[in-house]
Symmetry: C2
Subunit: 372 residues, 2 copies
């Protein structure tokens, strides 16, 4: 047990991390694919986004209580990517059902091991975190608060982003767990247009919805019963199963009955009494290649060059040669993204990094399903 | 014998094409390499530049009198690229000695087969020719004139190019072989600076030096005797050899004695009485990727996409995926060159296409000799 694991006495609260690692997505194509999802990429760092998420969770809840929920077709790679994790801590959805049922599986595992008062910290696997210490402090604070109600961490916005949902801050509760501020949640609001996003940021009373949620397993089952009863039926049956094999059999047999809905839409936006902790720890959702450029050290002309690519006379550009990629030579470009893998090359201006999907669509249309 | 071969009666002049195909060069890297020189590239066309050069020469002098001089380490690929050519018509330099000695080898072959009054048409293998008919007309005109003196074809400039040598037009001779104009050569002038190039083009009395020369084998030997005696010794001995095997043995044994010098510097700029025919037949030296973009059909936004690459929302760009290259997806770029081969990717603004050499140097420095 590391020093940081010791900072939360087990007597106070038993917490599990439920790391959601089932995502696909093509925003980091060609590096990310269905067969190599974003959370498994290192993006020029020393560990994958998932390995980093597991490392941070371990520091707070311990490795034995770090769970990873993933999709069946990604299970093998996920296990290989975090070999130190106990085998039973990687939980594969029998069939894809979005994040509400996936969180349910984590809650079942936590409740079966430590009882329904165990707190689960629901953590997406794929954001980048710049300040691990601050992040871990907020995790401890949110876990402490989660004994009472559902807690989320909202990210203090650094720009008028239109690609995220926001959380409107309600009144402060006065609590200061681990020094963190705690507010009631005013409301979850959908992705805003540009002007609205700017108003949100200027008001200082909106945070980005990070998708991190903290609640007891019991609360998860109660909310599922209220809002997603078909899911609750499956979860309750799994919790009630006499042993792990029987619980797994219930999930295998009945998981498909659960509705396919996100934890945000299915539970969080419908539940009452939520609290939010503002967090500021270099969170980056790595939602595009432009974001990757922002999380890695740049040279004095703002270039980020990863994986042995060669850039001459560049400015503000991101050039990546993945393992097995051809030699990549780029000269004289400005604000450009060039990413090469062994079977595909992407070239796109940084300002149009979201348009990678147009290339993915083109590859799909031309029958190159091997590239998706 | 085709109709066009018949237009020059053998009784009038026996002419050989001496196609110089020994070049290396990295200006079209990564497609061109030492092991895959520019003249072997198709650049999105249906035939390699060399195959096109052979095809045009054949139309004028016949296949039997079309010779290709190449470097020993390129001989095998050159033969494979023009399989219809008689085996004896591919002549490999035993060791690299630049173009003056290479032309000498062509002159030896012509003289041994048809006597020293045979005309040799010295033709670089790697320019692109847009108008084959007009080019072939000029070839016939230059060959006809070459019975009397050394003739060159100068290209009517279409821009103030600083990368070429120029030929200053002297007085017209009044001759109109095949309808072509003939001038004395005023002077060969070196690559000019920008302002000088602009003045040249404005004056209409300068032509680009195309490196095409026409002269009898006898004249070649005489000029070599005068200006490059060590070369003349080798050529004379090869011409005097009793049979082809003996001639080949002379070349093998003594070619290294010849100085390494270009036909331009070694002979043409030193010889007297030269004539020049202005030519205008869509000549393009394909000296950079920007030039490649100019010789292939563009879409209505000025993009040239070759080899199955995918370009979305591009403008004025050249995107090439060579055989065996990864899938190439480019979106939203302007005036950019992207070239992928199976082992290398180049990205460079069209305006900086000459800077590909910086990448080649970088590859060299990092020990990637396989990419050169």
């Amino acid at each position: 047990m590391s020093r940081s694991e010791a900072t939360i006495p087990a007597s106070a609260v038993t917490a599990f991390a439920v790391i959601l690692a089932g995502g696909g997505g093509t925003r980091l194509w060609p590096s990310s694919r269905r067969a190599r999802p974003k959370q498994l990429l290192t993006l020029g760092g020393s560990e994958s986004l998932l390995a980093a998420a597991v490392r941070r969770a371990r520091a707070v809840v311990g490795l034995e209580r770090t769970l990873v929920v993933t999709a069946a077709d990604q299970e093998k790679q996920i296990r290989a990517a975090v070999p130190a994790l106990p085998a039973a801590n990687v939980i594969a959805e029998p069939t894809p059902r979005n994040t509400a049922p996936a969180v349910g599986l984590g809650a079942v595992a936590a409740a079966r091991r430590a009882g329904p008062d165990a707190v689960i910290a629901v953590l997406p696997a794929d954001p980048f975190i710049g300040d691990d210490r601050e992040y871990e402090r907020l995790l401890r604070a949110a876990i402490a608060e989660a004994r009472e109600t559902i807690v989320t961490i909202g990210i203090t916005p650094t720009r008028a982003e239109t690609g995220f949902g926001y959380i409107h801050l309600g009144s402060p509760t006065g609590a200061r767990p681990h020094g963190a501020r705690v507010h009631d949640v005013g409301a979850f609001v959908e992705k805003p247009d540009r002007a609205t996003a700017e108003a949100y940021v200027a008001s200082k009373s909106y945070l980005w919805n990070s998708g991190m949620f903290f609640l007891t397993a019991r609360r998860m089952f109660e909310e599922a019963r209220r809002h997603l009863p078909a899911l609750a039926d499956v979860l309750d049956a799994a919790v009630a199963a006499p042993d792990e094999a029987a619980a797994a059999a219930v999930v295998r047999a009945r998981y498909a009955e659960a509705p396919s809905i996100s934890i945000d839409n299915g539970i969080m936006e419908r539940a009452g009494g939520l609290r939010v902790l503002p967090g500021d720890f270099g969170w980056n959702d790595v939602g595009s290649w432009a974001a990757v450029a922002a999380i890695r050290p740049a040279d004095d002309r703002g270039n980020v060059v990863l994986g042995g690519a060669t850039l001459v006379d560049g400015e503000g550009s991101l050039v990546i040669a993945d393992e097995g990629a051809p030699f990549v030579g780029v000269v004289g470009v400005k604000d450009l993204v060039v990413v090469a893998t062994k079977d595909a090359v992407l070239v796109v201006p940084k300002s149009r990094a979201q348009d990678v999907k147009k290339i993915v669509e083109a590859a799909k249309k031309s029958g190159r399903h091997d590239l998706l």
